[in-house]
Symmetry: D3
Subunit: 321 residues, 6 copies
Amino acid sequence: MILRIDRLGAELPPPSDPDPEGANAVQELMGGRFGEMSTLMNYTFQSFNFRGRQSVRPFYDLIANIAAEEYGHIELVAAAINTMLTGASPAANGKPPGDALAAMKGRGNPQHFIAGGQGALCQDSNGKPWTGDYVFSSGDLVEDLTHNFFLETGARNNKLKVYEMVDHPAARALTGYLLVRGGVHQIAYARAVELLTGADLTSMFPTPRIPTDKIPESQKHIDKGLHKILYRFSPDDYNELTAVFRGPHPETGEELEVQDGPPEGALPRDLPPQPAVFAPDYAPEEIAEIAQRLRKHAGLPDQPTAAVANGGESAADKAAR
Amino acid sequence: MILRIDRLGAELPPPSDPDPEGANAVQELMGGRFGEMSTLMNYTFQSFNFRGRQSVRPFYDLIANIAAEEYGHIELVAAAINTMLTGASPAANGKPPGDALAAMKGRGNPQHFIAGGQGALCQDSNGKPWTGDYVFSSGDLVEDLTHNFFLETGARNNKLKVYEMVDHPAARALTGYLLVRGGVHQIAYARAVELLTGADLTSMFPTPRIPTDKIPESQKHIDKGLHKILYRFSPDDYNELTAVFRGPHPETGEELEVQDGPPEGALPRDLPPQPAVFAPDYAPEEIAEIAQRLRKHAGLPDQPTAAVANGGESAADKAAR
Amino acid sequence: MILRIDRLGAELPPPSDPDPEGANAVQELMGGRFGEMSTLMNYTFQSFNFRGRQSVRPFYDLIANIAAEEYGHIELVAAAINTMLTGASPAANGKPPGDALAAMKGRGNPQHFIAGGQGALCQDSNGKPWTGDYVFSSGDLVEDLTHNFFLETGARNNKLKVYEMVDHPAARALTGYLLVRGGVHQIAYARAVELLTGADLTSMFPTPRIPTDKIPESQKHIDKGLHKILYRFSPDDYNELTAVFRGPHPETGEELEVQDGPPEGALPRDLPPQPAVFAPDYAPEEIAEIAQRLRKHAGLPDQPTAAVANGGESAADKAAR
Amino acid sequence: MILRIDRLGAELPPPSDPDPEGANAVQELMGGRFGEMSTLMNYTFQSFNFRGRQSVRPFYDLIANIAAEEYGHIELVAAAINTMLTGASPAANGKPPGDALAAMKGRGNPQHFIAGGQGALCQDSNGKPWTGDYVFSSGDLVEDLTHNFFLETGARNNKLKVYEMVDHPAARALTGYLLVRGGVHQIAYARAVELLTGADLTSMFPTPRIPTDKIPESQKHIDKGLHKILYRFSPDDYNELTAVFRGPHPETGEELEVQDGPPEGALPRDLPPQPAVFAPDYAPEEIAEIAQRLRKHAGLPDQPTAAVANGGESAADKAAR
Amino acid sequence: MILRIDRLGAELPPPSDPDPEGANAVQELMGGRFGEMSTLMNYTFQSFNFRGRQSVRPFYDLIANIAAEEYGHIELVAAAINTMLTGASPAANGKPPGDALAAMKGRGNPQHFIAGGQGALCQDSNGKPWTGDYVFSSGDLVEDLTHNFFLETGARNNKLKVYEMVDHPAARALTGYLLVRGGVHQIAYARAVELLTGADLTSMFPTPRIPTDKIPESQKHIDKGLHKILYRFSPDDYNELTAVFRGPHPETGEELEVQDGPPEGALPRDLPPQPAVFAPDYAPEEIAEIAQRLRKHAGLPDQPTAAVANGGESAADKAAR
Amino acid sequence: MILRIDRLGAELPPPSDPDPEGANAVQELMGGRFGEMSTLMNYTFQSFNFRGRQSVRPFYDLIANIAAEEYGHIELVAAAINTMLTGASPAANGKPPGDALAAMKGRGNPQHFIAGGQGALCQDSNGKPWTGDYVFSSGDLVEDLTHNFFLETGARNNKLKVYEMVDHPAARALTGYLLVRGGVHQIAYARAVELLTGADLTSMFPTPRIPTDKIPESQKHIDKGLHKILYRFSPDDYNELTAVFRGPHPETGEELEVQDGPPEGALPRDLPPQPAVFAPDYAPEEIAEIAQRLRKHAGLPDQPTAAVANGGESAADKAAR
C-alpha cells in the first residue's frame, strides 16, 4: 500500500509562455520506453514479484523503495507538461463557440487539446501510448538489476536530449532534477550488481559521458547533496537499503547516504482553469460554488484546507498560526 | 510523492495447488481495460492534470486519494497471481538441464514462465499488454467522474466473472476483497456526480445487479464495514473527502464514513524461490549468502528487519519485545 | 447512409453443444487481417475516399455495394460466435456466487467470458484486436482493386481453414455461406482489374485451388445460384454494377448476374440469456418487466413487434393475418 | 444486413483552401477512442451480441438503430477530411516526376499523402489506428447503456474541441451537425438508463456544459428539429424505439420524436481527382474512357446514372423529367 | 545464413542541408506497411516456411533470393535517413549543457533525436513501429506470390509519393534506385504468378501508371540495365531463378536477365559524429583513442582496414598498392 | 548488402511427433522482446546508424558482424517451428472438405494453422507480433553495447526456459545451439564494454547462473569450440573484430578466437507439403509439374540443382562426381 503526499519532489516554475511542442517532447520522459512510467512500473512489478525476499532483503528493499520514488517522478513530469500547456488556449472567453484552439492546430500533440484538457497523456513524444510491454520482471535478481541499470542509462540519455531540445523553464527544472535523481538510481543499481557479481559497473559513470554537474539546472540539487542520497520513501519499511547503497559515489568519491523519509520537496501549483478545453469545466465558477456549499455542509472551512504553491495560505496553515 | 508501506490491503491464503490457467484469468484484473492498472492510472493522471483544484478541492482530494488506494490493488492482484503460480515448477532440482516446465506447456500464459519468473505480468488475460490508451483524463471534472463511475462498473463486472471462473483460494480472497473496495469507489464517484449534477447514479446500485453481500468471500470485509469506509491514504493531505463521500450507502442506507489512514491490511507472504525459472536465482542460496554478508557489513541484524506473514518474527519485532 | 434490416444473410442452426475453442477460431473471420471487419472497412473507406467517381462510376458502385454486403458478413460471423458460446455457462442458477464459469477456465478466449457476455469480440483468433492498420485505401483505383482481389483470396484461405478446424454446425453453416459469397467478391474484383488493365486474374480461380462446390455446406447456396449473383444492396443506388460484374463465371462459365435488393436471408435467432455473465442482466426477468411496461406505455402491443427465427410469430405477423 | 443509400446525412461545403493540419485534427473524430468508428462499432457489436432481445426489444431496437445512424457519421467525417485535403497537391501536372507533395512535407499526417490518396484514414489525430479494443460489449444491458452514454459524452467533448481548433468550413459543417446528432444519441442512452434504473442522467445535460444551440453551425439543424428526432434507419424494423425515446428533451423540454426513415440528407460531392497521388489514377482520363466503354457495353446511358451535388443532373434525373 | 558485405546497393550523396521532416517521410519506406522492412521480412519468412521446396525450387529460389536483396534496401533507406539527419544538430560544441536540439523541437519525428542518435528508426512516417503483423506467409505458393506482387505495387506507390514529397538529394537518390529495383521484383512476382496460373499480371505494368523511366533519378540505373536484371545474391545457391525470371520485360520488351552476384554498389559513407546526441559518444575522440590502442594491440594497422566513400584509402587499399 | 547461403547454422532433427504447443513456446525465441528478431534487428539498425565508424571500427565491425549471424538464428528458429508443426495436419487426404485441422482446435497458436501454412510467424508465444519498438539504437556506443549485453542476457534466460518447457527434439537441438552461440555474443558485448569503460562485465558470467556446459544438447557444440569462436560472416569485411573479441573466455579461460567465414552448418531439410493448409498448394503435384516444365525450358537439369538434408544428392552434387 502507499500513502500519498500532496507535494512535488522539486519546485517547478510557474506557467510562462506556453510551449506545446516542448510539452510534446517532454512526453517522452513520461510514456517513452525509457520514461518515468517505465522506471515506475518496472521496479514496482519487480518488487511485487520478488521471491525469497527475506533471504536477500537488502535488494528487495532497494528495488521496492526506488519504485516509490518513481511515482513522484511521473508526478513531476506531468506537472511540467501541465505547466507548459497552460495558457496555450486563452483563459478568458476561450470557450466555444469560438476558435480558441486554432493556434494549436498542427502544433505538438493534438490529443493534448482534443482528448485531454491541456494535460499530460500516458504517451511518448510520438503520441504512442505507454505499454506494459516495457515492463521487465524476470524474477532473476541479477538480471533484473542489470536491466534496471540499463534502463536508468537509457533514461539519462533521453533526459539529456530533452534538456537540449526544450529550454522552457519548466522543462529545464524538470530535467535538471531528474538527471540528479535518476543518477542516484543508476548508481544504486550498479552498486547492487557489483555487490552480487563483482562486476564494477560504476566504472561506466557517467554514462552518457557528460557529468551531471555540468548541467546548470542540476547544480542546485547537487549542492544540496541530492546526487548521493537515497531517500527511504516509507514510514517504517525498506530499512535494509543501507546494506547496498553504500560506498563511494562513482564520480565524486563522496560516501553514499540513505536518508529516512522523502525529500522536503515543494508544494504543487494550482494551475489555472482552461475553459476552452473545459478543464475543470466550461464554467468553472459554477462547480466552484457547488464545492463551496459542500465544504460548508461538511463543516470544512471556507478556504481550502490544503496549501498550494501559488495559493497563499491554506486554511490549515492559517489555523495553525 | 508517495510513501510505501510493505503491507497488503488484505490477507491472501498461502500457496496451495498451482493454477496457471486461473492466474491467467486473474491477469484481466491487472492489465485488462477494466483492471487495476486502469483504475490506478486513470485516477493518478486525473489528479496530476487537475486544474483549479483549490476551487473544487473536495473533488480533487477524492480522485487523488482513491488513486492512492488503487496502488494497493495492483499490489494485491500481483500477490494473488504470484501465489497461484507458486509450485507450478518443481522447487527442488527444478533447474535446467531438465524439463521442469514441461507440465506448463500449453497451459495459461506462456510468458508467465518464459519471460517472467512465475510472476505477474502487465498484461490482460489474452496476454495483451496494458496500454496508456486506457487512461482517460479529459480535465472536465464531471466527465472524468462519469468515466470513473463507468470504469468501476466495468471493473466490478470483470471481478465477478473472474470470481465465477477461478475458485483458487487466492483468487477468491482477491476478488472478494476487490469487490467490496471497488464498490466503495463506485459509490464515491456516483455520489460525486450526483453532487455536481443532480443525477442520482446511486439508484443504479448494485451494478451488475448482484449485491456484493451475496459473495461469501466479501462477507467478512462487509462485516468489518469496509463497504462504507473510504480510507484517507495520506499522512496529512486529502482532508476534504468528507465533503463528497457522505450520505447513505446506496444499498444498505448506512452512513458513509471517511477514515484516516490506510486499513491495517496484512503482512505479505514471502513466496518461495522457483529455481526452475531462476527466481530469484538459479542458486538462491548463493545470493542469500552475499546478502547476509552485506547485512553484517552494514551493521544490520542477522535476521531480516522486516516481518512477513510466513516468516516468524522480524528482527524488529524481536527487538521490540 | 444505411438502412438496417433485421435479418441475417443466411440461416444458422440453433445453439447446440457449446464450443468455446471453436468460437475462438471463428474470431479470425471477424477480426483477423483477412476477416470480415477487414473486408467491410477496406471497401467502405475506399468508397468514402473515391475521387472522380462520376467518371468511373461502375467501379465506384462496385466497391460501395460490396462494402454494403460485408456489413451482413460481420453480422453473420458474430451470430455464429454467439451461437457457439451459448450454453457454455449454465443458464439456470448460473450466477455468482458460484463457479458457473469454472469449466471455461483455460478454454478458448477468456475475454469471451470475462470482458464480454459470451459474445463476439472485435479480435482475431489470438485475442488481438482488429486494427485500422488493416485498411488499405490508396485512392489508386487499379491498386485498390488489386488489393481487394488479394484480400478476398486471403479471406477465402482463412475460411477454408476455419472450416477444416471447426465442425460445429454454426461454424460450418457460416463458412459454407461465406465461401460462396466471398467467392463472388473475388470474381468481381478480378473482373474489375481485368476490365481496367487486361490482366486476366480470373484464370487464377479457384484460389486456394479447391473448388467451392466441393464444400457440402456451400452446395445449397450454389444450387440457388448465389455463386454467380451480386446483390445490389441499395434501394436506388449503385446501378452501374452491371457494367463490371458481367461475363462468364471463371469456374462454371455461367453468366454473372446482378440482382436488385438483398437476398431474402433469414430471421435471426433470439439467443437465450446467459445470466452467469449478466447477459442481458443478472436477473433478466426484471428488465423484461420494465420493457413490457414501456411497451404498454408507448402503445405497442404486448408481444414484440419483430419476429425472430425461434420466436413464433411477431405481433406484426399476427396482425397481418 | 444493410441497404446503402448514396447520400450524406448533411451537406458539406465544396473544397476550398486545403487544410492538412485541420484534416489531421478531424481524424480524431474518425479513429479516436471517442470517434465515430467507436460509436459505430460499439453499438453494432452490442446489437449483434444482444441476448434475450425479444424480452427487452425496445432497448435492442434503440441500440441497433443508433448503430445504423453511426455508419452515416463515419461517412460524413470521411467526406469532410477528403474535402479538406482536396487541392493540397496541385491538380494539374501534379504528377511525378515533380515535387507536387513538397509543400505537404512536415504538415499534418504524412500518410494522408504517402499511404493514402489524400483521403481519410482509419486513424486518430496522432496517426494511431483505430482498434477493436475500443469496442465495449459486455452483454449487460444497463452497463452497455451506461457505457454508451459515457461514450457519447466523450465524443461530444472531442467534437467541441475540434470545432474550436479547426475553422475550415467543412470541419465546421461537420462538427455542427455531429454535435446535434450525437446529442440526440446522448439523450437516448441517458433516457434508456433512466427507464431501466431510475437514475436521472438527463440532469447532466448538457455535458460538456455548453448548450449546443450556442454553436452557430448547429443552429440550422436545431431549427429543423434535428436535436429531438431519432430517425428509424430501417425499412421495416426497429419499431419499438418509441418505447424508450420519449418524454421531454432534457434541455428544451420539447417532446422527443421518432421519425421513420433516414433524414433527407444531401447528395455527396464528387471530389476531383488528385493525380499527384494517383487518385483515382495517374492518368484519370484513361480509366474514364474505359468506364465509358463499359457503360455503353452494358446498355447504360452515357451519363452517370447517379447524381452528385456538384454534378448537374444524373441520367436518372434527366430521364425522370 | 548470410554473409554481409559492407557496401551499399547504390551511391548516396554526402550530407547536405539537413531535412528532418524529409527524413520522417522517408521512414515510411523503412517501417511502413509497404516499406522495405515489410518486403524483407515477408520474403524472408516465406522462404523459411517454404514446404516442398525441391519440387518447385525455381519459385523457392526466387523468393529466397529477392529476400536477400531486400536486406540491402533497408540498409539503403537507413543510410538515406542518416544522411538527411546529419547536421541537424551542430557538430561542434553541440553538447549539453546547451540547446543544441532546440531547432529540432516540433520538427519531424522527435524520437530521431531523443530516442535515437539522429539515426533511422524501425518506424513508419507516423512514428508507428513496424510490426510482425505485416508479414504474410500463408504457405500457399500462388497466394504468397500474389501477395508479393501486390506488396511491391504498394511499395512502388509509396516510393513515388516520397519522391514527390522530399527533394533532398539523398531521398531522391534513394527513391530513384528503389523504384528501379522494386520494379524488377514486381515483374518477377508477376511473372511467377503468370507461369503458375496463366494470369497475365504483366499487362498491369506500370502500376501506378507512371513509367519509371520518367523519373530522372531512376534513369542512370535504367541506363545500366538495372531494370531488367535480377541479381543472384548468393555465392552458390538459388540457381534456378532463371526458370522463372525470363521472357520479355513488360514495359520495354527487353529480355529479362539473371546475373550472378550482387551489384557492384558503392562504398558507404562514414557519417560524422553528432556529439549533441552522443553519437557515437559525448566525446568521440576518447573512444577513438581506445579503439586505436586496441587496434595496435591486435596487430592491426593504424588506419582502419576498411574503406569508406568519404574516407580516402583504407589501410587495405594502401597496402594493396 | 548480403549474400545468402542456403544452409542452416546447425543441424535439426527430422520431423517427428508434431508439437503445436511446443512450437508456440518456441515462437518466444522468434518474436519475443528477447527473441532472435530482436537481436537481429537491434544489431542491424545499430550498424546502419553507426556514426564515426572509421574512428572506432573494431566496434562497428563487431556489431555489424554479429548482426549477420543473427539472420541465421531467425532462420534456425523458423526451421525448428516448421519441423514441430509438420504432421500436425494429416499429409494424405488432408484437404477440405474435411476436418483435417480439428485436432488442432484449441491447441497452440491458432494462426499457425489458419493464417499460416503450419509455419513460423513473426510473433511471440502470446501471438503478439514482433514490433520495431524492440529496436534500441541510441547511437551512443557504450550505451548500445550495454543494451546488447543485457539483450543477450534476457535472450539466454528465455532460451533456457524454452529448453525446460519443450523437449521436442527440434526444440532441444535449437536451444542447445542458440545457448552456445548467444553465449558468444554475450561475451563479445561484455568484452567490448570492458574495453571501453573498464567495467568487468565478464565477472557476471554465466548469467543466468547455470553454465552452458550443463546442457547436454549444447555439449557437442562446445566440444567443437563453438563457445569461444566468433565467425566473421563476410567475404572480405569486418576484419577488425580481432581487436575486441580477444582475451580469455570468462568461464573457461580459453582464448577467444575469430574465425573467417561462417560455420559449416547443415543442409536444410525440405519439409513435406501439408495440403490441409495448402502449403505449398492444395494439389502440390500440379505446381510441381509446372516447375518441372519451367526447369526444362530454362535448360536446368531435371533434378533440383540444390541439395537438401533429406533429399539425396542434388543435381549439382551428382554432376560433381
